[in-house]
């Protein structure tokens, strides 16, 4: 479902009202909570703008007692996965597909919450009208097992294609797949914010899948909050507060998008204010209360299993890499 202005108003109003009621109660309750085990965390800083909640979370974290936030530069694919698993990054908003792949490879990561839906869009040349039409076509991706590769593989598997055989993958980190697409060197690519916003501004390409609107992708989270398992095990209070702060920041993206966009630009996470605003408008940030992150992981695990990219069963992926305790508690708190 594409969010309407009414959604934003509703979500913003609801968040503001809830904030007023909840704020005072929270301040009193928080005074009774144990302090977080650490006052410093490391978050990821990647190329995709859809993770804006983690770029504006620092003030909310400070209110939770976590006063220092370091941003570690990463990509939004395998390097980010590895950085979380190895503990170089404590928390990151990361795409669900690559996290499933990471868990299948035996690396340890803990998914704590689903954050938002629908950040990717599949662009294709004119004449390609569906995912099934990608058979035999060239598709750009930064690398194999990158987020783009994983999501497109899941889409292809859902319509009966074998992504390894039926799609001609063109992997290129530089120039980026969007540049290859613009140069006509690939037939399709998967865009993450701000790439879709840029192409729309240029009036280029046709979108054959918009994960914010098109089923079944619109029914599942695309970005999850993931953490290093050791951090969660040794610092559960801090982990819970990070979850709470990130989800509140996500609410902020709904209730105060212009403020969030301004902050993101001012802090240097992106130079283009318009793209930031457009991203906040395009990506449905207000659904984390309604959607089930476990079902998201199950869904993507099924698709990747169908595509032959993972061997583990969905249940095993969930057993190994999901911990929804903090999410349930935060949902109860934030309503």
């Amino acid at each position: 479902m594409f969010p309407t202005r009414r959604d934003f108003l509703f979500a913003g109003g609801a968040a503001a009202t809830a904030g007023l009621i909840w704020g005072d109660a929270r301040r009193r309750a928080r005074a009774q909570e144990a302090p977080p085990e650490t006052t410093r965390i490391r978050l990821a800083r990647g190329p995709s703008l859809c993770v804006m909640p983690q770029y504006v979370v620092d003030e909310l974290l400070a209110a939770e007692g976590i006063t220092r936030v370091d941003y570690i530069v990463s990509d939004s694919g395998p390097l980010l996965s590895e950085a979380i698993a190895s503990g170089q990054i404590d928390f990151a908003m990361h795409f669900s597909g690559p996290l499933v792949l990471l868990l299948d490879r035996g690396r340890k990561v803990t998914m704590l919450a689903g954050v938002h839906v629908g950040c990717f869009e599949l662009f294709a040349k004119d004449g390609i009208r569906s995912v099934a039409d990608l058979k035999g076509r060239s598709v750009g991706a930064p690398a194999l097992e990158s987020s783009a590769h994983v999501f497109i593989s899941a889409m292809a598997a859902l319509v009966g294609l074998d992504p390894a055989k039926d799609i001609n993958w063109v992997t290129s980190a530089e120039p980026k797949p969007i540049e290859l697409f613009l140069d006509g060197k690939v037939d399709a690519f998967l865009g993450f914010p701000p790439e879709p916003q840029r192409l729309r501004a240029q009036g280029v390409g046709n979108v054959i899948v918009n994960s914010a609107q098109d089923r079944p992708w619109s029914q599942y989270f695309c970005c999850m909050l993931a953490s290093n398992p050791e951090f969660v095990r040794t610092k559960p209070v801090a982990a819970q507060r990070v979850v709470r702060a990130i989800l509140r920041a996500t609410d902020l993206c709904v209730s105060a998008p212009t403020k969030v966009a301004r902050q993101v630009v001012d802090r240097g996470f992106t130079p283009n204010y318009d793209y930031a605003v457009q991203t906040l408008s395009d990506v449905p940030y207000g659904r984390w209360r309604d959607y089930d992150p476990e079902d998201t992981i199950r869904f993507y695990a099924l698709r990747l299993h169908e595509a032959g990219m993972i061997k583990s069963t969905p249940d095993r992926i969930l057993d190994e890499g999901a911990d929804w305790r903090f999410l349930r508690e935060v949902r109860r708190e934030l309503g």
């Binding site: 029914q219 309604d290 959607y291 089930d292 079902d295 869904f299 969905p314």
Partner: protein, 501 residues
């Protein structure tokens, strides 16, 4: 090897008959085969169960998808009714709503284990039906704008939620199916391991048991056979040792006791033979003394010492002399053989010349050969070093061979030859006589044996010459043999060590 022998020995030591051991081994293999079959059946049963589970999951997924489909169709019907609010469209939309009951019942039937989710689903569907009905009623009442508002604000988000709920059911069922497929695969792998393990185990057990049982039988049989061969060769010194506690163990015991008995009998026979030989040696000596006297006096009579011999008496006297000498030869042969058998003949070792030995023999038989008009020749390699042995006995052995050759050859030639080997000499006597059939060649070296018994009479032989020659050669550590075939003459050869210490 140690483990193998230990296994064979262990099987041999089992105190049970061979038949029982074989039956037990076959029973064990049969049990393994039964276990293999049972494992296969269990695996098949589990696969069948898994197949049933997967079919059930497929029914679940179909029901969930049908519900998803009907939800969307319902939403479409309501939208259509809002767009074209005629009676037919409204009736169709209401009929669609009533289909939910059927969907819910079907889902409730196939998804008994999803009680909580189904409860939520039923609750959301009740709300959906109520709101959809309300939208349609508002529309029927002409309140289209209000109907659209309710549809957008309440019905559409509710349809989204319902879709996500059914998605959850579908995903869970699909995940269960993946688990089921994985479990089937794991079952197959496990079954395969069991079946291969049982098959391999059965194969190895069959090999091990076959090996152990066969060798626990073959080894004692071989040992007993070897023991019997030694007994046949006259060696009674060792017992056969068989650890088996079955029929073969008992057989080995019987062989040992029989061997002991045979040894006693053999000893008795040896004693008797020695006594006989001793007696014959004594008797021969005693007989030779008067016979020599008779021959001496006969010789004196023929020489006219006791006066002229009447012409009529000369021929009988000469015949007496001739037969007396023949008798003396026989007695000498018997004396030699008896001495050998009684262990009284010892070799007088000394240096000798092979060439002189051959020439001596040649000189002794030259006249005999000439009488039968036979050519006789010798061939000895020149420059042979002195040999060491009993020259007289070796000359006797060679003389016996040459004497026999002359005796049995009616025309042609006799050749005496010597060949040098690394540390021995080979003496050969080749003739152009009638030859000896292969079947008879082994017999002629036995005492009192000739190829044809009548020959003894016609050729005046005792049948002891070759036996004595054989004993003499063997006393020197050599061997004697013959190469011959009927009509092609014969070559008798013996070896003698160059030097005996």
């Amino acid at each position: 090897m140690g483990g193998r022998d230990a296994l064979v020995e262990y099987v041999g030591r089992i105190p049970a008959p061979v038949r029982t051991k074989l039956l037990a081994a076959f029973l064990l293999i049969e049990l393994l085969l039964v276990a293999l079959g049972a494992t296969g059946l269990l695996a098949l049963r589990e696969v069948e169960q898994r197949g049933g589970d997967l079919a059930g999951l497929q029914h679940k997924i179909d029901a969930y998808r049908q519900m998803q489909h009907d939800t969307l169709r319902q939403l479409y019907s309501v939208s259509a009714a809002l767009a074209a609010p005629d009676n037919a469209t409204l009736s169709g939309a209401l009929r669609q709503i009533n289909q939910f009951g059927y969907d819910l019942d079907r889902v409730a039937f196939v998804a008994k284990d999803e009680i909580a989710l189904l409860g939520r689903l039923r609750e959301e569907y009740s709300r959906f039906i109520a709101i959809a009905t309300r939208v349609l009623e508002l529309n029927r009442a002409g309140q289209t704008s209000e109907a659209r508002q309710v549809q957008t604000a309440e019905l559409a988000p509710l349809a989204d939620r319902l879709e996500r709920l059914t998605n959850q059911l579908v995903n869970r069922a699909e995940a269960d199916m993946v688990n089921g497929v994985d479990a089937s695969r794991a079952t197959y792998e496990t079954s395969r391991i069991y079946v291969v393990a049982f098959a391999l185990g059965g194969f190895l057990l069959t090999l091990a048991l076959g090996y152990a049982i066969s060798w626990s039988i073959v080894t004692p049989v071989q040992e007993i056979d070897e023991r019997l061969n030694r007994i046949a060769a006259g060696d009674f010194s060792q017992n056969v040792v068989v650890a088996n506690r079955d029929e073969l163990g008992a057989l080995a015991e019987h062989v040992n006791s029989t061997c002991e008995r045979l040894q006693e009998l053999y000893q008795s026979l040896q004693d008797a033979s020695r006594h006989k030989s001793q007696f014959l040696a004594n008797m021969s000596h005693e007989l030779r003394t008067p016979l020599n006297a008779i021959l001496g006096f006969g010789e004196l009579m023929l020489d006219g010492v006791y006066g002229p011999v009447p012409e009529r008496m000369r021929a009988p006297l000469e015949r007496m002399q001739s037969n007396g000498k023949h008798l003396l030869g026989l007695i000498n042969d018997i004396l030699d053989l008896s001495k050998i058998e009684a262990g009284q003949l010892s070799l007088s070792l000394g240096e000798y010349s092979v060439d002189e030995l051959v020439r001596g023999v040649y000189g002794a038989v030259e006249s005999l050969a000439a009488e039968k008009k036979l050519a006789i020749s010798t061939r000895v390699p020149p420059g042979l070093p002195p040999a060491r042995g009993d020259e007289r006995r070796l000359a006797q052995a060679l003389l016996n061979l040459v004497g026999n050759a002359i005796k049995f050859t009616d025309r042609g030639e006799i050749a005496i030859e010597v060949e040098t080997n690394e540390d021995s000499y080979t003496f050969s006597v080749r003739d152009t006589g009638p030859g000896i059939a292969e079947a008879d060649q082994a017999k002629i070296f036995e005492e009192f044996r000739q190829v044809d018994g009548s020959i003894t009479k016609t050729k005046m032989g005792s049948g002891l010459g070759l036996a004595i020659a054989k004993r003499i050669v063997e006393m020197h550590g050599g061997r004697i043999w013959v190469d011959s075939s009927p009509g092609a003459g014969a070559t008798f050869s013996f070896t003698a060590p160059a030097r005996i210490n």
